[in-house]
Subunit: 420 residues, 2 copies
């Protein structure tokens, strides 16, 4: 008997029939003797419907009230799932975030979990119940409802798994696992059966939309194995079959028997690049540039500084494309004049492509193969950024698909057991 | 400056535009210096939509989970109203029942309020905020969400008004007040500007659908004046005009300056009559009959027992028509044989028509005018039941409209200052 957390996304909860299928799957796990906590998202479309009503009333709705509003989606889906479980003959009970309670800070619409009380969940599990806990939400110290932001139910599930000491957190979604890259771009993309926590962290941060990045951070911090798998399979398939499907995200490197050097190619199209040319090179110049950008609440991703001629330096950075107009305004009106840059250049038609792999730690040649591949395709590299387990390049976004496909092939990711 | 509770029904909250109109109206009250607590229902159709999903999943959904589900409707509408108020420039904050908290017993789907903590509401009012509190719901001693049953938001509003010591509870709805009878049956029906609490209680219990009966009981217990008025008027009409519109339900009899003897004609079509003929008349016979009916969870309304010939008695009672098949089954299979009735008769085509008026206490002749009027129309009276302020008759339901119109005219209710 093990203690397992299941998380179901909005698509998996999207209709009465799908909720019934979720209940059948959970009932199967329960019947096999496992203790199960289920964390559902709101029915697909519901959160958008609610936030749309708010936007129709106010262009900038109050965030406390937005959380009050949005939290109802998961409360409703959780109650419906508990009803469906009881209809399957399984004792079940649903709880909201505040009932558990899942305590968070007070950063409405993007709150962070600070603690989870496991007493109520554990008592119901001991009574033989399946416990359904709303994803996405919590309660702050003042008793106000908070939400964790889009995709927050993943984080809820992993945090609950950590709090109750679950053996594994199964994230059921509408894809059947984590792929070497996006199959819509590269049809040969393969599902990974195992991926390390660090790789998943890089892939999530680099634009793979399978899991919310904070859920992966949580999993790493509390060493909770996550399995990403499909909710669209036969809910009554055997447990053995189910536990070998999907992708296991593990923090045990040795579990990954046939570890490839490179696990996947991640990419993100929503990038924009800003460059200050010939800034007088003196201490504090980086802070003079990035301080005002941070003050404008804009996240900076890749940062590059090159020595230029005659005591000046060129300084480049990338931001999310949605923040580009604001970043450019700050650069032109405040920073440029202040630091005495000769020229400001900008390009909002760039993308970032990254090769990710835990094997890069011990294998040389990954970066050079990457650069050679891009060069053979005639793709100019504008910026390079590296970490222990990834190498990223910023290139013109018109080459994105070409670059991803070429790299996927060059690293042998389209072949079982591939990658160098 | 006074402290006022506003309650808005589902129709009044039924769209973004209507919620904005509610916000305009509340903002007007707030701008005039009043402290306002607003209790909204769920947007019209929402509660039915949610309960429909539950019914699609299970024919008899668990009631704790139903409350968890249904409570989301008011939480969403309350947050939307707070957002709309802030958009009008009014500081506002919404609270769920558990946040206040509104404590109830644990009778899911039909819970009763046991206490309301006014601290949080009062603190926000003192800070100049409009406070929005979800109607219809509360929390029990174990921390589970409860709901008060259909129309429960009226009860929430009156209970909150009592808890915070409000001067008046304004119930905004899609009708503009309480009428002498249903205008769909009698076009000459007039709106009453004042009605006593006791009359309203009788009218609500006799089928006038304007207010949930428990809200009227609450208002009487805590002596909270209620005004029923329309939410479909111009939200920016003057406060003076607004405070003379609708119907004031008062417990101060002397406020009702031009008190009529009879205030209205109430009726209910959903009645059924059951009769046991020639039951041996001995002590305890009423209990032998009504005990099993109560055990079957069937409410009995009018009860009549007449001495019959030779030591037997005829026993009749009415039940809600929906309970009729079950009541008849209990009567035929259990009670009839047990008490030795000669015959069982039943009629599910009856209705109840009642003349209601606090003036009946001190005026004779109301009952006789009622019986004479019905007799002149050739309507046979099957049962009669009286209380201090009402006289009810059970008649064939095909005469219902005829009886209501004739009585409305006979008591002069179609004329201003009418009724005898």
């Amino acid at each position: 008997m093990s203690l397992i957390v299941h998380k179901y996304g909005g698509t998996s909860m999207g209709s009465v029939e799908r909720i019934q299928n979720v209940a059948r799957r959970v009932a199967k796990w329960h019947a096999a003797g496992h203790q199960v906590v289920v964390v559902p998202s709101a029915m697909s479309g519901e959160t958008n419907r609610l936030l749309g009503l708010a936007k129709d009333i106010s262009p900038r709705p109050n965030e406390r009230e937005l959380d009050m509003l949005a939290a109802t989606g998961e409360q409703a889906s959780s109650a419906l799932l508990a009803i469906a479980l009881m209809e399957q003959g399984v004792a079940a009970r649903s709880y909201t975030g505040w009932q558990v309670p899942v305590k968070t800070d007070s950063a409405y619409t993007k709150a962070r979990i600070t603690s989870i009380d496991d007493a109520r969940i554990k008592a119901d599990l001991a009574d033989g119940r399946v416990v359904v806990v709303t994803g996405f939400q919590g309660i702050d110290d003042e008793g106000h409802i908070t939400t964790l932001g889009r995709g927050g139910s993943d984080t809820s599930a992993v945090a609950i798994a950590a709090a109750i000491g679950a053996q594994e957190c199964l994230i059921y979604t509408d894809v059947d696992g984590v792929y070497t890259t996006d199959p819509r771009v590269v049809p040969e993309a393969r599902r990974l059966s195992v991926v390390s926590f660090e790789e998943m962290l890089e892939m999530a941060s680099l634009g793979s939309k399978v899991l919310q990045i904070r859920s992966v951070e949580f999993a790493g911090k509390y060493r909770i194995p996550i399995r990403v798998l499909s909710s669209l399979t036969d809910p009554l398939m055997s447990l053995e079959e189910e536990m070998t499907s999907g992708t296991l995200i593990t923090f045990e490197e040795d579990q990954k028997m046939e570890a490839a050097v490179v696990s996947g190619i991640a990419f993100s199209r929503d990038e924009a690049k800003l460059t200050l040319l010939a800034v007088p090179d003196k201490p504090g110049v980086a802070y003079s540039i990035l301080g005002p950008i941070a003050a404008a609440n804009i996240n900076v991703d890749v940062i590059l500084q090159n020595q230029s001629v005659e005591g000046t330096t060129d300084f480049s950075f990338t931001v999310n494309r949605a923040d580009f107009p604001r970043a450019l305004e700050v650069l032109e009106q405040q920073i440029g004049p202040a630091v005495g840059a000769r020229e400001i250049r900008s390009d909002d038609k760039v993308c970032k492509v990254s090769v990710v792999g835990i094997g890069m730690r011990s294998h040389v040649g990954v970066a050079s193969l990457m650069f050679r591949t891009l060069s053979e395709e005639g793709i100019n590299i504008q910026m390079i950024s590296t970490s222990e387990i990834k190498t990223s390049v910023v290139i013109s976004d018109k080459y994105m698909e070409l670059a991803v496909r070429a790299l996927h092939k060059a690293f042998g990711l389209d072949q079982e057991g591939g990658s160098l």
